[in-house]
């Protein structure tokens, strides 16, 4: 099945090369050129250095397959790579304080060149997700997380899933739109735990 898919993928690339006229650059060349032009078109500013344009393996593959279906084996490879990077809490406790979690979910600052490097860094969860019913200003890039644990059960599995997903979303869904908050050192372990609490604490307004 997977072989089949790859085969068609190869045929596709081949066909494109043949159809394009002799002088046209290959898709890979254009990608390479685009990456080079990008690097010459930015300047370092504050905490955002030019190294932020350097892609890791996950970013590189997700860029490469952005406009085409992600082959199953590539997806599996990305997920495996990212699963290995999840740092589970040493004390085994996944759940922090949901009230802090709510603040982290609301906070949009952090890591931008306009942000104070010593200032707050948030998850900005509401930019993409519905969480508590009290906050009507939420985005829809990600699914609604309202009643997250109420629907899934207040179990260790639910907490572990939430922790892992926040730490590294690509471990569960290759080329997710969601940042890898723990893996990329955007949020601290404690912040991830507090967000887990926002999602899984029965007292959290998310589960009301």
């Amino acid at each position: 099945m997977r072989k089949h898919f790859l085969l068609w993928g190869c045929v596709g690339v081949f066909a494109a090369a043949v159809v394009g006229c002799a002088t046209a650059q290959s898709d890979v060349d254009v990608s390479r050129q685009a990456a080079a032009v990008l690097k010459s078109s930015f300047k370092a500013n504050g905490q955002a250095g030019l190294d932020r344009l350097d892609q890791d393996e996950t970013q590189r593959l997700c860029t490469q397959y952005a406009n085409k279906p992600l082959p199953k084996d590539v997806a599996e490879m990305i997920e495996k790579l990212n699963t290995a990077s999840i740092k589970w809490p040493a004390d085994g406790k996944m759940q922090g304080d949901w009230k802090n979690g709510e603040k982290i979910a609301q906070e949009g600052r952090g890591k931008q060149y306009s942000d104070d490097p010593k200032g707050p860094v948030g998850g900005n969860c509401y930019a993409c997700h519905q969480l508590t019913p009290q906050e009507v200003s939420y985005g829809t890039i990600g699914p609604s997380l309202y009643q997250f644990a109420k629907l899934r059960g207040y179990s260790d599995e639910t907490r572990k899933y939430a922790y892992g997903k926040i730490w590294n979303a690509d471990a569960y869904s290759a080329c997710s739109n969601m940042p890898r908050f723990g893996h990329s050192q955007i949020l601290t372990e404690q912040q991830v735990k507090d967000l887990v609490a926002l999602l899984t604490d029965p007292d959290s307004p998310v589960n009301k």
Partner: protein, 273 residues
């Protein structure tokens, strides 16, 4: 303990939750409606006009070390012709041997005709509190002269095709601490960030809707913002470093999006939240 308590009050909680969910859903619908009303109320009396007026004066006034106006500046439709020029930009310019967007062309005219140094011409691309940008005012004026004109960005010259192809690739380039690309927010239909609708810029309809409504007066900032600024600020929020003004990447991305907007009537300077 909590679980037991939860089970005991389960039924009541469920009813309450259903009510809350419904209220939340209703609140959401009316919030979107009310924000539409808010936006409609702002349409009448767009402060972008203040920039357009200042830009027109700047366009017509003799400027720079050589003390000449933009009357000899060719935006692609002949020297000094402003009407409809923006609807056909970016494009390849033989005299400069490169693809240029409006800002790059304005800087080019300031350097080659008005005698400014490159550095002086590039100064202050974006205004802020208490600092006004001449470039933004000029862009406001020039773009206002394409209002109602159908977007018709050429893709005939090899360099124009090259810029478009590069822009298309850059649009999906993931990077930074957050793995974001332009497509993260602008690659799917019907999405929102907080309450802001996100156009899918990879579709013709989405690119048309978005590209034809920049520049815009941003009420949140009290400033007129250009498409260059829009790109710049998207990358800031993508946690990328700073996009260089008139850089090749900014021209390529503008080319990709402007060309995708072809066929739609240009409708800016607009007013946005």
């Amino acid at each position: 303990m909590q679980a037991t308590k939860f089970r005991r009050t389960g039924r009541a909680a469920l009813a309450a939750c259903a009510a809350v969910a419904m209220t939340a859903a209703l609140a959401q619908v009316s919030a979107v409606d009310e924000i539409a009303k808010y936006r409609a109320a702002l349409q009448d009396g767009n402060p972008a006009e203040l920039w357009e007026a200042r830009g027109e004066d700047l366009w017509k006034a003799p400027r720079g070390p050589k003390n000449v106006s933009f009357a000899t500046c060719d935006l692609g439709q002949g020297p000094g012709v402003v009407k409809g020029a923006y609807a056909q930009l970016p494009r390849y310019f033989t005299d400069a041997d490169r693809v240029m967007d409006l800002e790059t062309r304005l800087v080019h005219c300031m350097v080659t005709q008005q005698g400014y140094s490159q550095a002086d011409a590039m100064k202050g691309p974006f205004g802020g509190p208490g600092t006004k940008s001449d470039i933004e005012a000029l862009v406001a004026y020039v773009t206002s002269q394409s209002r109602g004109v159908k977007m018709n960005v050429p893709l005939a010259h090899a360099r124009e095709k090259e810029a478009y192809a590069l822009g298309e690739k850059m649009f999906v380039y993931r990077g930074g601490t957050h793995d974001f690309s332009c497509a993260t927010c602008h690659g799917e239909d019907g999405k929102r960030i907080r309450l802001q609708d996100l156009p899918n810029l990879m579709t013709v309809a989405g690119a048309q809707k978005a590209y034809t409504t920049w520049p815009a007066y941003r009420v949140s900032q009290g400033e007129l913002r250009t498409f260059q600024w829009r790109l710049n600020d998207c990358f800031r929020q993508q946690r990328f470093p700073e996009l260089i003004f008139t850089s090749e990447a900014s021209i390529a991305l503008t080319m990709y999006l402007a060309r995708n907007a072809n066929g739609a009537a240009f409708d800016a300077p607009a007013i946005k939240r």
